[in-house]
Amino acid sequence: MAVAAPAGSARESVRLKRERDQEVLVWPDLVFIEFIAAVLFTITFVVLATFFNAPLLNKANPNVTPNPSKAPWYFMNLQELLLHMDKGLAGVIVPTMLLIGLMVIPYVDRDNEGQGTWFGTVNSVRITFFSFVWSGVWISWLILWDNGSQVLVYQHLPQLWGSNERLKWLGDKNPFKGWPVEGVLKPIWDFIFLPNRLAIRDTWHWSLPVPFQPGAGPHDGRLDWPKDFLQIPIPLNGTWGWNWGGKPNWMPGWLQHVYPYNSDFSLPAITAEWIVPIIAMVGLPALMIYILHKIGWAHTVRDAMIALFTGFIVVYFALTIVGAAFRGKGQALVPPYRVPNLEKDPSILRQVEPPPSHLVLADPRVVVRARDG
């Protein structure tokens, strides 16, 4: 022990000495870089602020709603998300889960391998690339699908291929007419070619003979979507299962206050607004990680985190860009040149009035300029 200690400390001091050789002084090496960066950015922003004015429209008027009304750009991804699922899910639950997800990254991925270098692990670059393409393609497809854009393809593809006969079935409303299992195949066929998410609630329809319907009381012997699913009682409200006698008094008071025990829910609406979006948001990332694992690229938690984080960044910016540059009047999906420019729209055009007299300063030239606009 007594012999080993000096040897160890000698090695230690050699190691420290080598570390010292790798170091530079903060003054001037780092302070200089910071100074130059600050100067460059100051110049850039002064030039930018000289040539590009911050927008100022009409005075706020609660009676004139601009169409489209848009959130600031960094929240436009949330605004875009609102178009594709329930408001509470898109506006609050998803962002909250994402923030929590971001915060727990370092507690899930604790391996120190590859830290401190760009894309430090073996497959990180190709995983990033895969996730970039995967997320980009899926988010574009989902936005287009929810907009019903693929209907155009179904309508025009048979014509585009020259022969109407060969692909006639693609645009066919019911290729299974007269089949014995038509009642099952037709809804599946319709589901595949649904124009958008809300069509699950509004236009998708099927009717199956189900003679035995527990707890349904007198019924017509068939189960119809969406008619029979519009008013499903919330569990524990006393109309099905055990009878709790109306108000569930066994629940603590705050839960009775929060729990909607006396209402019904519409399964078609829940499917369109919650279930389908959640399946997309959970299922597609999960499928991506499964594929990455199966093809042998993703081995560690870090690899999965890279895939998920890249997906988050891609979707964040894709939704922002679509919300900002591709949403026109009534939030319709339009090419960027048809998105109304708020500053040129007559209904909200900026009025150039001379400022009120108590705000006009003494310099007469300034007053003239203000009046001329």
């Binding site: 170091e23 530079v24 002084l25 903060v26 003054w27 001037p28 090496d29 780092l30 302070v31 870089i33 910071e34 960066a37 600050a38 930018l48 602020a49 590009f52 004015n53 911050a54 927008p55 100022l56 429209l57 009409n58 005075k59 706020a60 609660p62 709603t65 601009p66 848009k70 959130a71 600031p72 960094y74 929240f75 605004q79 898109a90 506006g91 639950i93 915060m103 990254i105 370092p106 604790r110 391996d111 120190n112 830290q115 401190g116 270098t117 760009w118 430090g120 990180s124 990033t128 929060v258 890279i306 960044i313 900026r350 009035e353 400022p355 705000l359 300063l361 310099d363 300034v366 203000a370």
Partner: protein, 251 residues
């Protein structure tokens, strides 16, 4: 006779240097001498309240621009610039629905460099959001959140949220159509929360519509509450960089 060069006496430069940096007043302000020796260079960092956020020496990979692209530092620089321009804007701005819009208009037309200051504030605010996002991406892809820096990543996520909130609260202040409707859309998003949505929207805008109460609330949050919070979390963020052993680098 060998001619050896004799050292000359002190020149004018040396005299000036001595007068400037070796006098009673200079050394009362800066305890160290002019930073032209390694010792003084380290002291310049260590004895200065602003610079001592830095260590006195760092690993040479950390001064490579491509390691960080200065993104965190630039985010902080945007915060400083926004504070300075924001204070200037406060001189001319009154958060009252009857005055706010006119104040901004007057600032643009009647105040010398008023438009420039407003433009600077706006573009720097947008840039700060982008820079913070890019800084987060840099930290992620360099694996810099890994132990022992887990908690500092969490502080960083909180700072991202504070940056977004700062930008969002400032968006209402010009009180024009863009501001009113963007905040209406934004707070409606908050109001969509399942149980507490209506309540949280009510608290946020102080009423059922974006009006005078919303303006004064957003103003107060924007100019004092959120900047203070951000400053506190930034202090923790910078402090933890030092405590956790500087920037991340390969083991």
């Amino acid at each position: 006779m060998a001619m050896t060069e004799q050292p000359k006496g002190p020149g004018l430069g040396d005299w000036l240097y001595d007068r400037l940096f070796h006098n009673y007043i200079w050394s009362s302000v800066f305890r160290s001498g002019y930073p032209n020796t390694p010792r003084n260079q380290m002291l310049a960092i260590a004895t200065n309240v602003f610079l001592h956020l830095h260590p006195t020496r760092i690993h040479k990979t950390h001064v490579k621009i491509t390691h960080t692209y200065c993104l965190g530092g630039l985010s902080f620089f945007m915060f400083l610039g926004l504070t300075v321009t924001g204070v200037m804007l406060m001189f001319y701005y009154v958060p009252d629905v009857n005055r706010a819009f006119n104040d901004v208009q007057a600032l643009e037309t009647n105040v010398r460099f008023g438009m420039l200051i407003r433009n600077l504030h706006r573009w720097m605010a947008h840039a700060m959001v982008l820079l913070v996002l890019m800084h987060m991406m840099r930290v992620f892809y360099t694996g810099a959140y890994k132990p022992p820096r887990e908690f500092n990543w969490v502080v960083g996520v909180i700072l991202l949220v504070l940056t977004l909130l700062l930008s969002f609260t400032g968006y209402l202040l010009p009180w024009d159509q863009l501001a009113l409707w963007a905040i209406t859309v934004g707070t409606n998003i908050a109001g969509a929360a399942p149980i507490l949505g209506g309540q949280s929207r009510l608290v946020l805008i102080g009423g059922f519509d974006v009006g005078p109460n919303a303006l004064i609330r957003f103003y107060t949050l924007h100019v004092i509450a959120l900047p203070l919070l951000a400053a506190i979390f930034m202090s923790v963020h910078f402090w933890r960089i030092r405590r956790d052993g500087g920037l991340a680098r390969p083991l």
